[in-house]
């Protein structure tokens, strides 16, 4: 097994609001290895973005944001290191790409300046050297005539080009971990495929670990090695991609898989009834219980733990317990 780049243990991110505590992330654990793409899947509001913002250290700095649990980066516990040390990790060792490339570039600076900023602040590179790096990065992410485009402003780039620029910026210091928060959601379908292809190619070149946040199982199948399915702030299933698609163990995952169209299939698409729970007062037992068609009494009483069912495939559902005992 390759080196573990990131390990998250029992991570909790709670927000104190006027209406009470919102448990946006409530006990999430996973590992990401070098060169691995780990996908975090779930509906919007399930806590996948908050998990990643917490890993980046962008959440947890305000008084109303409470973070518990441990985050290990290359074996080092970074949960409680100083703000300044955390800042130095950001951009240099771990980067993030946001959903909307139209707004994640600063409109008043050239794309080149924004990429060059990374080596300048993290590696103390000179302006001219940093600009060279910027041109190189633009070339790497497939932008034509990069030596010209480097001096252009974001509004002169198309949406897909901007996302390429953002990716180039994120990778300018060769980070060990790249978090991609729905990097293709805001783009046209044809551009989406190009960006995913680019990410896959770059990962092969750089051996970075990638966390891919998405609600699109198609994206998961395309680019990732392993998957974690999140529901209402917790991981409900974790497996290798192939395993998960072949044999989903959690009713929520099953529901998600049934809701995507498969070419050539005559099966009807189904939807998962109901809404994710309000995180102010989530149900006591399994959080999926109110929407689950297999729900039992036990599900209402007690929250199931994420346990290994078979060779590395984990799920948090009492059904598996019943199945196991029934064997």
């Amino acid at each position: 097994m390759k080196e573990v780049v990131l390990e998250v243990k029992n991570l909790k991110t709670h927000f104190r609001t006027r209406k009470g505590i919102v448990k946006a992330v409530d006990g999430v654990s996973f590992k990401v290895h070098k060169g691995e793409t780990f996908a975090l899947v779930g509906e919007s509001g399930c806590g996948k973005s908050v998990t990643c913002m917490t890993i980046m250290g962008l959440i947890g700095r305000k008084k109303n944001e409470v973070v518990e649990g441990d985050i290990f980066f290359k074996g080092r516990n970074i949960t409680n290191i100083s703000k300044e040390e955390r800042r130095k990790l950001r951009g240099k060792n771990m980067s993030i790409i946001f959903q909307d490339p139209m707004t994640s570039l600063n409109p008043v600076y050239t794309v080149g300046t924004q990429i060059a900023e990374m080596p300048i602040i993290h590696e103390g590179k000179s302006q001219s050297k940093a600009k060279e790096i910027a041109v190189n990065m633009l070339k790497k992410v497939g932008i034509p005539s990069p030596d010209k485009r480097v001096d252009e402003y974001p509004h002169q780039f198309s949406g897909g080009m901007r996302q390429r620029g953002v990716i180039g910026m994120s990778l300018a210091c060769n980070p060990e971990l790249l978090i991609a928060d729905e990097p293709t959601t805001a783009l046209d379908v044809t551009i989406q495929a190009q960006i995913l292809e680019l990410l896959r190619k770059l990962k092969e070149d750089t051996e970075s670990a990638i966390i891919m946040i998405t609600h699109d199982l198609g994206v998961v199948a395309e680019v990732s090695d392993s998957v974690g399915v999140m529901y209402a702030g917790t991981l409900v299933e974790k497996a290798l991609v192939k395993e998960l698609f072949k044999k989903p163990l959690h009713p929520y995952t099953k529901g998600l898989l049934k809701s995507i169209p498969k070419p050539g299939s005559k099966e009807r698409l189904t939807i998962i009834e109901g809404q994710p729970p309000d995180l102010h007062n989530a149900p006591k037992g399994c959080k999926f219980y109110p929407r689950c068609s297999y729900a039992m009494d036990k599900c209402r009483e007690e929250m199931p733990k994420l346990i290994e069912i078979e060779n590395g495939h984990k799920a948090a559902c009492w059904l598996n317990e019943v199945n196991k005992n029934g064997k």
Partner: protein, 313 residues
């Protein structure tokens, strides 16, 4: 960029022509013309006719306008009917005072307003933020002439720190000049500072909520760099637009402030012209003030374009 500037200058031309039309015809609406005022109690038809012919006031208005405009373009604004002094030199004499007043008010207001607005936005909902908001509200509400009056009461009559009015040229005695100019500048600049501060705060708040700021944080920039390099330039864009309008306020407000502090500036000159019904002088002042405002706004738009690459390219 050049294309934008040229376009912007061309757009200002019809406005300047409009101003000249207003400056000319508005004054002709004043009841009782200069001749009446000049002759006063000695008024008689015969003399009035002679004088009107002398000043060209017997020609049709439109003709008078074009004659006047031709002269203005050539730099001849006519002579004051009262002092016989050329209008242009009368204005030129007074202009430095008004410009110094505006310049000092402007500096005072932005040097306080921009840092305060920025800090208030960064430390949102803190004591500093509330304090700044309160000062801002007070600043936009206090009439400048009353503020000037309070300054005189307190700092001149009571504490005797500053003279209550008058003027000494900067070239003559810089220290005395500043002593005379500080209170008027603060009285005039406070409202502008308050508006700019409020604008800076709200604009900064908006910028700080943008994705590119989140992105910059994710890039690992220091807090300092985040504010100075990533947020400030963006937050200036709307502030600059407001500054242009506020310069007009400084220009208009200088009339009142110069009166209170007995400063011999263009504002006082305009007031004099208005009370004396001095046509040529009034026209000159109106033309100067309004076109000055148009030119300031032109400059502001060019600075705006410089800050905002979306216009530049």
């Amino acid at each position: 960029m050049l294309k934008y500037v040229v376009k912007r200058i061309l757009m200002a031309i019809p406005i300047l022509i409009g101003i000249s039309v207003i400056a000319f015809f508005l004054i002709r609406l004043v009841p009782g013309d200069t001749v009446t005022a000049l002759l006063g109690v000695n008024y008689n038809e015969e003399q009035a006719l002679i004088l009107r012919a002398k000043y060209g006031l017997d020609k049709p208005l439109v003709v008078q306008y074009f004659i006047w405009l031709k002269n203005v373009v050539a730099g001849d604004f006519g002579n004051s009917f009262f002092t016989k002094e050329p209008v242009l030199s009368a204005i030129a004499d007074r202009l430095p005072v008004t410009l110094q007043l505006m310049f000092m008010s402007f500096l005072y207001s932005i040097f306080i307003a921009i840092p305060l607005g920025t800090i208030a936005a960064i430390k949102r909902n803190s004591a500093i933020d509330y304090g700044a908001s309160f000062l801002g509200l007070l600043g936009v509400s206090v009439p400048n002439f009353w503020l000037g009056t309070l300054f005189i009461l307190f700092f001149s009559l009571n504490l005797k720190w500053f003279p209550s009015g008058g003027f000494i040229s900067f070239l003559e005695d810089p220290v005395q000049n500043l002593r005379y100019m500080i209170m008027p500048s603060v009285a005039l600049g406070t409202a502008v500072g308050a508006v700019v501060m409020r604008m800076t705060r709200s604009s900064m708040l908006e910028v700080l909520g943008q994705d590119y700021i989140k992105m910059a944080e994710a890039k690992g920039v220091t807090d300092r760099r985040l504010i100075f390099n990533h947020a400030l330039k963006n937050s200036f864009i709307p502030v600059v637009t407001v500054l242009g309008i506020q310069m007009g306020y400084l220009l208009g407000g200088s009339v009142v402030i110069e009166k209170i502090f007995s400063l011999p500036g263009v504002g006082q000159l305009s007031l004099q012209a208005i009370t004396n019904r001095d046509y040529a002088l009034m026209q000159g002042c109106i033309l100067l003030v309004a076109s000055g405002f148009v030119i300031i706004n032109l400059l502001v738009d060019i600075i705006y374009a410089f800050l905002n690459p979306k216009i530049r390219y």
